[in-house]
């Protein structure tokens, strides 16, 4: 049986809600573990990460994702 890629389920949850969240929370951060979404949005990655750590602890990874309508592609030179 193939192992799921890290944060695969969390990214699926994010994609399900991306359009909805982008209406009111564009540019903010959301925190997700498995199917559970923290009921708060954050202005910075640091705040979102700390909230995830408080809520989910250190046993497993959790997704911290900034909300954009489409995924930005950054240029690295």
């Amino acid at each position: 049986m193939a192992l799921a890629a890290p944060l695969e389920m969390e990214l699926q949850v994010f994609e399900e809600y991306r359009q909805k969240w982008s209406l009111k929370h564009l540019g903010e951060y959301v925190v997700i573990q498995d199917g559970r979404v923290l009921d708060q949005f954050f202005d910075s990655y640091e705040d979102a990460f700390r909230a995830g750590l408080r809520e989910f602890g250190v046993s497993r990874n959790f997704l911290v994702k900034q909300i954009w309508i489409t995924e930005p592609v950054y240029f690295v030179a």
Partner: protein, 148 residues
């Protein structure tokens, strides 16, 4: 804080660029919480990082991110480079600068990528860190000075 000086000769094609030593590890509060329940984390050791004004964010070698057990907070984020597009995983960590008085960054989003065929450094310090610094380059002295 004393200014931190980095030697860099941009007129020497063999010079890889302005580099300094960094220590990357999990965020301090993450390690504290992990140790409280008996988890162990590898001892950090310095790696060489390139100051890269062309990168919007900090990137470390995928190998180091995994070996140091950084907590993963993102996956498959697209970036575009001169060599083409690739997907990066994202981690949360902290970064300090041994041998300097530059203040550490307690929580930082760090992308990871392959640094294959790159013998000089295994980390890019991007503009997410540089925005906190004042950097001046003296071409005649071949010296970069960093203050905060």
């Amino acid at each position: 804080m004393a200014p931190f000086e980095v030697h860099w000769d941009p007129f020497d094609p063999a010079d890889p660029g302005p580099c300094l030593k960094v220590i990357v590890m999990n965020a301090y509060d993450y390690i504290e919480a992990g140790r409280a329940i008996g988890l162990e984390y590898p001892e950090p050791h310095p790696i060489t990082a390139l100051i890269d004004t062309g990168s919007p964010f900090t990137i470390i070698s995928k190998t180091f991110a995994k070996n140091w057990k950084l907590v993963q907070t993102g996956a498959r984020s697209p970036i575009r480079t001169m060599g083409g597009d690739c997907l990066c995983d994202e981690y949360s960590g902290s970064m300090s600068f041994p041998g300097s008085e530059l203040p550490p960054i307690r929580t930082l989003r760090i992308r990871s990528a392959d640094f294959n065929r790159e013998p000089f450094y295994s980390c890019l310090i991007g503009r997410d860190i540089l925005k906190n610094w004042d950097i001046r380059f003296d071409g005649r002295a071949r010296c970069m000075t960093i203050t905060t």
